[in-house]
Chain length 337, copies 3
């Protein structure tokens, strides 16, 4: 079994993995993955994912290795039928089954190219790895998904006591770069599946594109949540939690000049205490990190009591350890429901 | 004891290591290397070697660390008597004995410079490491040798039931770059030592140079094999196995323009099903990987039943674990002959 | 408890850690750190520190992970109040507490910027990490300190039987670059605290700057040592040990042209056998490494009996393992005083 998207986990499995995450948080050290090896392929930078995956495997008694195509190893081709006379020296069709012989599961980080939304939406790299292999594959953030983040965020919402049918505002923020849609898409889908009322608060030109909207619709139908989009500050009214994240323009996707034009004059989209005035009292602030201070959110929020971003990132470790246990352990956690 | 070349293993030791490789393939997890540390120095990129060495140490209960001169650490000088006022901040004469105090064995990858064949043939970097140290040193591919590949390939030939005196065709293939001779030299020497009839199938200008030819001669004499070179497709007649690999021109070694000229018009040297017509029925296709699809070999071969390149790469793990066990374990595999 | 400077260890703790270092040298393999994880953040290259920290954790039964800001992960901001719209994507205020949730201690390497001495002297990056975190932080070389080196060097002086009140000459040497003051400052402070007579032998323009001099004064007062500076070769008279290291001009700190001018004509500051003529017979040669041969010191010294630089680097492992045991183990080394 692989873990390419949170959407692929049925409700029972999701509940079991979340319970297991609470268990490993209480008892972090064990040997359930003794002798197991996790291969980690990072095509893009990482801080939390790399560290928590390596620490998590070690704390469960296993180990891991890291490959960085383009740095420690050559770039990998993932398209089929290509005449490989360019810069890419190896194809995923060989690399994946080869690496699978050296480990018990593979993790892959492969950000969006950000040129063509249709192309990114077909998840060309993640799909190529998935099709080339037979062992568990873990999505460590792909073009349009970040299921480890979504799983951890689900636990964070539970930990914070946010009502299952509470209101979550996923707000866009200004950022100097057009960032991928992976986190907003994954978090939105998770939130509505959890049963929440989601408002995506973003400027014109940054709305959820069709494939992402369809995914959120499907998960809302599955979980009983609902969602809408707006650029109005009314969005924040009554929010139980505000989750900030920047992303690139979706109407000018892959068009740097168009994106820059749309982004102009939006530097006021930086979350500060005023944003919380219409929200529920004590509504927490979440962000997947890394976050640019005083660009995406004010110092006063990150340094104040609303910010739970550190707790949130801590849940990456617990959630992923539960996932690794679920995917890789030969003996199950019998004492967990 | 070090492992710089397969040629250095006597027949008994080779047989024992191959037997041990079959054993660890059956029982991959153990603690024979508990407390042992392998230091890995990569001066060039790696996928299989890095991953299989790290996974192999972990599966045997040990651990490893990775240094990448020029990236995570400074470039290393290896020549003696140099006034080190250039870019290289440390000499192997210090680095090697220092690192040996932190680990039980060192692995080193140091590709050919590809400028002067005589210089590459003296293996300046590998030799410098070997002379500077006292602990086991494992050659992870040097200028003209790749003994971990050769050991694994020996096991692959055994696994596939290729007769000891069978015919192996080592065929050149077109490639956009002038690649090193390490794999063809190591595989050729292994094959004739195994007793095989080797034909090196290559265009004019790509024949085995004198130091490599002398080595193959010596191993053929030792093992009872034989070898020849030709650019004729008759080479493929009756082959039990076709092993493809590209390498740079040996007559225009280090001469980029000359190499490019020789390479011109040779793109038809791309292995496809036609190449197997004169061979034995079901003759397998081997390649050390990474391989460029539709440049070195057609998709149809790699995706078809002839290709055993994944099995072949899997044997890297088993062969290297056997080698590490042989070199590092204080208690031997008593149940293995 | 963190380990930011050797100065912060009281005498009893220092004695216990040195005793523990001798113990782990005798019995290198144990499981006292089973389940413990060390997070290593390298903002600059490393050979000894990376390898010895990873090997040390493994030999004590624990594990480690490595992050390299600017390579495997994004650059980190450390200044407070910054509007982060430049190249730095994450602030230490988030990164440090997040990473601390994945490990039991953090190690940080953050070299001096070398622009403004006052700025470097406030240790902006190390301080930012220290202030942002709650778990043990280990200084793996900061702007003006290298306490792991100093601890190991203390053990080396003990191992070599250098009298507690012996004479140590810390000599500058020529080098093509203006190197940081971290090692000379740390070694000088350690030596005078150990009770030694220290002479800093350096050309004009390379004297210890005020903050370093004040630190050496304080440690001399604490430990009973004494120190002076000179450019005269008389410095070497009667030395029990000569410790070489290059560093940038302190009067032209951050001024590349001024530094180069001061450095001109100083290539004779390359340690050779003549330097030892006025010293004690058999006075050893030390250097923290990496060292440029025939630039900082002659081949004949490094390849001769005076050089103990390999032993010295070996003590990095033992000293750091003792430190890790001291900082992280739940059960103490009861059999050690």
């Amino acid at each position: 079994m692989s873990y390419l998207s949170l959407d692929h986990l049925d409700d029972d499995t999701l509940a079991r993995v979340l319970a297991l995450a609470r268990k490993v948080q209480q008892e972090p050290i064990s040997d359930v993955l003794k002798g197991k090896v996790l291969g980690l392929v990072f095509m893009n930078p990482s801080l939390r994912t790399l560290a928590s995956m390596q620490a998590g495997m070690a704390q469960l008694g296993g180990s891991s290795f890291v490959l960085t195509p383009g740095a420690s190893t050559w770039d990998l081709e993932t398209e089929l039928g290509v005449v490989m006379d360019g810069t890419k020296a190896e194809h995923a069709r060989e690399a994946v089954p080869v690496l699978e012989q050296y480990c018990d599961a593979l993790g892959l980080r492969c950000f969006a190219k950000g040129v063509d939304l249709t192309d990114d939406a077909r998840e060309p790299v993640l799909s190529a790895f998935s099709e080339a292999g037979n062992k568990p594959l873990i999505n460590l953030e792909s073009a349009l998904d970040h299921p480890c983040q979504a799983l951890a965020d689900h636990k964070t919402l539970d930990d914070l006591g946010i009502p299952k049918d509470g209101k979550i505002v996923l707000t866009w923020a200004w950022h100097p770069k057009a960032l991928p849609l992976a986190v907003p898409a994954a978090v939105a889908a998770m939130a509505v599946r959890r049963g929440m009322e989601l408002v995506v608060h973003r400027p014109e030109g940054f709305g959820m594109p069709a494939p992402v909207a369809a995914r959120i619709d499907a998960q809302a139908a599955r979980g009983g949540g609902s969602w809408s989009e707006t650029d109005s500050p009314d969005a924040l009214e009554g929010a139980h939690v505000i989750y900030a994240k920047s992303w690139g323009s979706t109407t000018a996707y892959g068009d740097a000049a168009g994106d820059a034009l749309l982004r102009q004059g939006l530097r006021s989209w930086c979350v500060d205490e005023d944003w919380f005035t219409p929200a529920q009292p004590d509504a927490p602030f979440l962000h997947c990190l890394p976050v640019r201070r005083n660009v995406v959110v004010a110092d006063s929020i990150l340094d104040g009591p609303r910010s739970r971003v550190v707790l949130q990132a801590g849940n990456r470790l617990h959630a992923q350890k539960a996932l690794l246990w679920h995917l890789l352990a030969s003996r199950g956690p019998h004492d967990v429901q």
